[in-house]
């Protein structure tokens, strides 16, 4: 491995690079999905290769290959330098990186049960047992899925960094779709779009207790068909953790990505309303809103030991006491704004150049219980589990739909409602937050499918949240 890395770094320097880094990644994945009593897909995948990122003539170049040999590493590094030299054709100023501490380290990940040591038959049986329980009248599609991955990544740079990291991830979820011929209703557990994901072993599946939750999931899907429609109007809402995780993702995570802010993602993902003139001054939320980016949380899907620039994982505030105070950054963007690099650069795999990604973006816990949040609502809706999401390219106007909701009247949970939706403007919404549940209700939800960048990269991120209350929100926009 070291000889391949040295070949790439030497070759890059020889070809004219003033900086180069190499990532070699090897990843094994096992995916199982079941549908209506049988295994829909059972698949193992394996990938291995190297990517070389260089600065030459003051501009970026990146090339990659699946062939892991010293000769190929030299060739890839030379191609990266050629690409960088072509980039310099439009250069306005030289790329410059903020100074960081240089590390040599090897980091293993501890898990209780290696997910690859558990027989496939045991995994299938958990999903098919849940499937059987969900098979009740009205349910037309029962789905279950599991995901396990194990990777080993080596990062080295011409500055002397040499970091090896292990990453083990498990994820699982079940869902039931019910219909009466006119409409579809879905319920999922523990979260929608594949369930919950963490940097854990098979213990994640064991603790999720699918068999205990399957019946409720199916019954709620059927009950939603005859539930009354979510009312429309301005009212208070309480968001459950799995929905709030996506709210944090879209309205706090993405707008604090400094590459978006500086226009580097404008041609695809868009930009942000949190421009640098707002840093340290702008009231993003109410006084109780504290949002952190924390890659150091043990087992969080968005966590790691070092990012893909070799920057050590950190915890920083993005919003403190309601004021916008921090960005997710890279060495290059941090230098532009004279900030300290906080370690948010990650690539999907060896064949992608790292970009700024969310780590674990968390709404810090408050001091209420869920009952206290609900008790404080005269007229409103408790909503949970995301069903649809949409937000403008500057991350201001959002609209979310959830799988399920319950009316709240005079401080008490009442009837179930279907197709709940709410919409708003990001900072108005967070300024209306007047209650956050305490740490007993706090959970770090894994989001395995965050898309960003060109070429598009899918990243695993996470959000620690507990339920929270928002006042005077526009509810029920679905016609």
């Amino acid at each position: 491995m070291r000889d391949i890395i040295e070949s790439a770094l030497l070759s890059a320097k020889r070809a004219g690079a003033t900086y180069a880094d190499v990532r070699i990644l090897e990843r094994e994945v096992e995916e199982i999905s079941t549908k209506n009593g049988s295994v829909d897909a059972l698949k193992r995948s394996f990938t291995k290769g190297l990517g070389v990122r260089v600065i030459a003539n003051g501009a970026w170049g990146f090339a990659s290959s699946f062939r892991l040999t010293t000769d190929e590493a030299e060739k890839v590094a030379e191609e990266a330098v050629l690409i960088a030299k072509a980039s310099s054709l439009t250069k306005i100023e030289d790329v410059s990186l903020a100074e960081v501490e240089i590390f040599q380290d090897t980091v293993h990940q501890k898990v209780e049960i290696d997910p690859f040591s558990v027989p496939i038959s045991e995994k299938i049986s958990v999903l098919l047992e849940s499937d059987k329980i969900m098979n009740i009248p009205g349910v037309i599609v029962r789905k279950g899925n599991m995901y396990f991955s194990k990777e080993w990544k080596t990062f080295a740079s011409t500055e002397g960094a040499y970091i090896e990291q292990e990453r083990i991830v498990s994820g699982a979820g079940i869902s039931a779709i019910a219909t009466n011929g006119k409409e579809l209703q879905i319920r999922s557990y523990p979260s929608s779009f594949g369930g919950d994901y963490q940097r854990k072993g098979f213990e994640l599946v064991k603790s999720a207790d699918f068999l205990k939750n399957a019946e409720r999931v199916a019954k709620e899907a059927v009950a939603l068909l005859s539930a009354k429609p979510c009312p429309s109007g301005i009212m208070d809402i309480v968001l459950g953790g799995s929905q709030l995780a996506l709210q944090v993702h879209e309205s706090a995570g993405h707008p604090t990505e400094l590459d978006r802010v500086l226009g580097e993602e404008a041609s695809f993902a868009g930009m942000s309303f949190l421009m640098p003139d707002k840093l340290g001054k702008f009231r993003y939320g109410s006084d109780i809103v504290n949002i952190t980016a924390d890659a150091t949380i043990s087992e969080a899907l968005g966590g790691f030991a070092y990012d893909d620039e070799g920057v050590k994982a950190k915890r920083i505030y993005l919003v403190k006491n309601g004021i916008f105070v921090g960005y997710l950054n890279s060495r290059e963007t941090a230098k532009k704004l004279k900030l300290e690099p906080m370690g948010a650069m990650r690539a999907q795999s060896w064949n992608f150049m790292p970009i700024i990604r969310m780590t674990s973006i968390n709404l810090e816990p408050g001091d209420k219980t869920l009952d206290e949040l609900i008790a404080g609502v005269d007229r409103g809706i408790y909503m949970d589990t995301n069903k649809s999401w949409s937000i403008d390219q500057n991350r201001l106007n959002f609209q979310f739909g959830t799988e399920i909701g319950w009316e709240i009247k005079n401080g008490k949970i009442q009837d179930m409602v279907k197709n709940p939706t709410y919409t708003g403007i990001t900072y108005e919404f967070w300024r209306s937050c007047d209650g956050i549940a305490n740490k007993d209700f706090w959970h770090v939800w894994g989001v395995p499918n965050c898309g960003k960048g060109e070429p598009q990269q899918v990243m695993q991120v996470s959000h620690g949240v507990s339920p929270a209350r928002f006042r005077n929100v526009k509810v029920g926009v679905l016609r």
């Binding site: 049988s38 394996f46 990266a80 439009t90 409409e183 226009g263 993602e265 403008d392 106007n397 609209q399």
Partner: protein, 448 residues
């Protein structure tokens, strides 16, 4: 490139070594490059060479799958062993009948339409020069450009133990620009097999004209408006019905609005839509990822629901033939229309605008998502060009708005379609005209 002879030889050898009742090997890969620019300079410039090998083995009705990256006999051997191990632990899938059988009828197709040396040979300097042309033009106009120049040269090969043996090499090139002023932006993108067929000047003109005329937008109230949707907006809006409605899986799973409506007119009688992998109106692909030759599938003819697309799993279960619309298996999104077309009308975009008394011109929608899958209700934002039309003329730029609208309702409210169509490509190809639609519902607005 590895080349047809070598790939097919290695795949056939691997298939013959397999112990399974049925074996299928799919290889996809090649070289892809992207030169990205933002703030009027190239900020991202990347290249990648990769091959993905998908192996599916069937032991009776037990299916095992494995995917590996790279290309060598050794790596295929590893994938075969992994797939065997998986299949041994697998339960029977009662819906499985067979992998693809060789197609009975093969439509005539000239494979030269798939490949261009101009695209394959466009190197880093060639891409950077195109980027420079775009950013220089933007700079001259005082605008800020952000976009991409992308090229891809890919091989696809499928061999299975039932006699399917397919190979093609294809190129795709795309050039995109978003021109931005402080309070406006304009979008343009084109995709072609041959990069020299993309008119860079047109991309510059479309994007910069919109950005220049979009300055100082006004805010208007949400509500129902007559709209002119460009092909970019149409493609983004209707793209959701490709996976929610127009395929056999969606019909089986209950999410398709075609259920119970085949043979009935449920869209406007001016709406005809189909999928045709061999049409040069799209970025063609002559066979699917199971090696089945693409059939032309008509979804709606003059508003009447006709058919949906199938892969082998959904087709053989119903005792019919696959239409050639499988994605690489296993996939929760298969089957899928990869070459979707809405037939055009007789108008020009200019005539369509001149027929609007009061309405909105929408260049593009963004971040769309289904709110109600069964009724194909979609929400999303406008982006990169929204203008008020008054008395047949574009009069003022407008701040972006949120829409919440059903595709079914909108396609019943189409008053006019343009003759011109455009290919909108993002992994799959969607070719659509401009549409004039009445009573299109906007439900919110934003601050820019």
């Amino acid at each position: 490139m590895i080349g047809k002879d070598k790939i097919i030889e290695i795949l056939k050898k691997a298939v013959s070594r397999s112990k399974a009742d049925q074996t299928e090997i799919l290889v996809m890969g090649g070289k892809s490059y992207l030169t990205g620019f933002a703030n009027n300079y190239i900020h991202r410039n990347v290249g990648n060479e990769d091959y993905t090998i998908n192996i599916r083995l069937a032991f009776g009705k037990r299916i095992g799958s494995a995917t590996v990256h790279g290309f060598s006999e050794e790596i295929i051997e590893k994938a075969l062993k992994d797939a065997e191990l998986i299949a041994e632990n697998q339960k029977e899938n009662p819906d499985f009948v067979s992998f693809a059988k060789p197609s009975k009828e093969v439509r005539q197709f000239d494979e030269k339409a798939l490949y261009s040396e101009n695209t394959a040979n466009c190197d880093a300097e060639c891409r950077a020069k195109i980027a420079k042309e775009v950013v220089d033009a933007s700079k001259k106009l005082g605008l800020n450009s952000s976009g991409t120049v992308e090229t891809e040269t890919g091989e696809i090969a499928i061999v299975n133990s039932l006699g399917v043996e397919k190979y093609c090499v294809r190129t795709v090139a795309s050039i995109k620009n978003i021109a931005m002023a402080t309070d406006s932006s304009g979008y343009s993108k084109s995709t072609a097999v041959d990069i020299t067929k993309i008119n860079v000047e047109e991309i510059i003109k479309e994007s910069t004209d919109l950005a220049l005329s979009g300055r100082a937008p006004i805010s208007i109230e949400p509500g129902k408006y007559e709209v002119i949707l460009t092909p970019y907006a149409v493609a983004e809006f209707i793209s959701h019905i490709l996976y929610l409605s127009l395929n056999a899986r969606a019909v089986n799973e209950g999410s398709s609005f075609l259920i119970g409506n085949f043979g009935k007119r449920i869209l406007g009688d001016n709406i005809t839509m189909y999928d045709d992998g061999l049409s040069e109106e799209t970025i063609p692909l002559p066979f699917d990822f199971e090696g089945v030759d693409k059939k032309r599938v008509v979804f709606f003819e003059n508003g009447v629901a006709k058919d949906v697309v199938y892969d082998t799993l959904t087709a053989y279960k119903e005792g019919r033939e696959s239409t050639g619309h499988s994605l690489p298996q296993p996939s929760p999104y298969s089957p899928y229309p990869m070459n979707f077309v809405i037939e055009g009308g007789n108008s020009s975009p200019e005539e369509m605008i001149s027929n609007v008394k009061r309405g909105l011109f929408v260049q593009r929608f963004w971040y769309t998502n289904p709110m109600d899958p069964k009724n194909a209700v979609i929400t999303g934002m406008t982006r990169d060009g929204l203008f008020l039309i008054e008395n047949g003329k574009i009069t003022k730029p407008v701040m972006n708005m949120r829409f919440t609208e059903s595709v079914i309702s909108a396609l019943n409210n189409v008053i006019e379609l343009s003759k011109t169509k455009k290919i909108i490509y993002d992994m799959a190809s969607v070719t659509v005209p401009y549409l004039r639609v009445k009573d299109f519902t906007f439900t919110g607005k934003t601050e820019f």
